[in-house]
Symmetry: C2
Amino acid sequence: MTLTQLRYLVAISDSGLNITQAAEQVHATQPGLSKQLKQLEDELGFQLFSRKGKSLAAITPAGQQVIDRARIILAEARNIRALAANLRGDDKGELSITTTHTQARFVLPSAIAQLKQRYPAVNVHLKAHGDAQVMGLFERGQADLAIISTTGTPPGDGLAVPLFRWRRAVIVPQGHALASLKRALKLADLDGQPLVSYESSLRPESSLRRAFAAAGVVPRFSCTSRDADLIKTYVRAGLGIGILAEMALSADDERDLRVIDGGVLFPECTTWLVLRRDRVLRAYTATLAELIAPQLDPRDLQRALAGEEPAAWPTPPLWSEIEKKAKRAARAA
Amino acid sequence: MTLTQLRYLVAISDSGLNITQAAEQVHATQPGLSKQLKQLEDELGFQLFSRKGKSLAAITPAGQQVIDRARIILAEARNIRALAANLRGDDKGELSITTTHTQARFVLPSAIAQLKQRYPAVNVHLKAHGDAQVMGLFERGQADLAIISTTGTPPGDGLAVPLFRWRRAVIVPQGHALASLKRALKLADLDGQPLVSYESSLRPESSLRRAFAAAGVVPRFSCTSRDADLIKTYVRAGLGIGILAEMALSADDERDLRVIDGGVLFPECTTWLVLRRDRVLRAYTATLAELIAPQLDPRDLQRALAGEEPAAWPTPPLWSEIEKKAKRAARAA
DNA sequence: CGCGTTTACGTCGTTCGTAACGATA
DNA sequence: TATCGTTACGAACGACGTAAACGCG
């Protein structure tokens, strides 16, 4: 058994049992993988894959067990290399982030821009998905970090660091009836109205739906999207009343949209940075965390990764505060 | 980075930084290890060990991190091999058990004898230690399983399976004043008396001490040992009143010792079989568990190892019940 | 001078890629 | 016939052991 054999093995598994394709992934030749797989099976004394003729048909149950453990081994080998790269002050590497569209579009750009300035040789891979899929991807190990929002407890079993708190905003076109409302908006005002919001709002356990349910209001979603820009577009087109994250709104939007603070209508959300506990952080990953959440003490992050997670993280600032500071800083420069 | 390099690395670490000694452990030559270590350090780009002249002086902090991860890798590689050996129906292997003297001397012999009959090629390594050290050894990965008793919750963070419940016995020589006591023994009767018991009873958090404290009795331990045979010997020699596990007593002992059931005086104990969650069990290890605890459903054990631990294990039988059954079986044969 | 490590060197085994072959749909 | 896997072969590399040199207490 060698690390190479295990690497080939999971590559084959990840390529849907296509050895030729797996060979390209690992930058080797197909006969090479074929032979190594055979050797591994010979050494272990059983079939990792069931064959149909010469082709691989399926992963055997025992094979799956081996693959699972091989993944752990390869992950730790990567960890060792990451450790070494950090120590060496190596500035190049990859960073894959899985997050929602709103974060990717409105929160991350400035942080990633700063990161790229400091680490030009780092390639950042952004994977924007729906709320529901983000943690799935993350937990399957396909991303180094996840950035995701919840209303209450941190998500999953990774190391979750609170970045900032934010509120929802209700948006209507300037001519809309609600735009000229003199009193404070109530949930009842939205009863029966066509709403435009995130796809995740359709799930019954979403905090939006629960807020409506608590108020006895039945929401009618006329249009949903994972993309905040689309939500704004459809609101502009008069398809309904938009409900989205405050981060998605800029001063520009206020020219033709009426923005109503939803902080009293809907529960406050917290955005979390989630790290895998079993993965060594490259130096630039820690830097990114600090860029997104300047209030974090870098030492707290280090300690948390070493297993000494604080009983309670400091309450993160509101997004509006962060934005204000950023604007002041921009003006000063 | 190769598995061999990592194996050599931890061997060097485990041999107290003596490469020559490590080479013997891994059945290789010293220059071989030296060279592989050098190559690994070259590849990673930093020193795993600090040197003093040519000798290795200490593990660097980064080196320690690498070694820790290397251990995980090697453990998973062993797991894969164990998986294969099970599937292959391989009957040879090693099984190291860490436990206390009482278990090793009075509980395990028959189970291990049966195991050796079924698996003659398995080498069992028993490591009998004090209560306090058993879990330490186990958690450092120096044993496949631990067998240990507690009064309440299962120990450590391994997979703890309850084997049986047992009571303490109070023993005195036949001529002793307590031997002819007509009424039930009370804790107060032991006040000020010289006691002979387990070393672990000296610790303030021991269940024995807590039972005494709850009754307002101050125990006086005239003699302690980890060895139940020694406790009996010293009781016979008149050094005091013995308090030990019922498993340690046989019919023979009742010839010259008066045995008083301590079940009402002291809380009931549970003996646990503790398995490492991160280690694949060889088939014979599961067999041993079944031999010690016949009430266990083998499928429950399998499921628990697969991560589906039952919310509550069945209440294990009393040791006295197990012993009765064993005697009946012996008579039948 | 013994102990332990490193360096040097020759041998052997292994891996890898190219090329040809075989099976399957 | 196109696709995918296996077998065959030769070249290159790497690992390992022996032997000798070096440093240190």
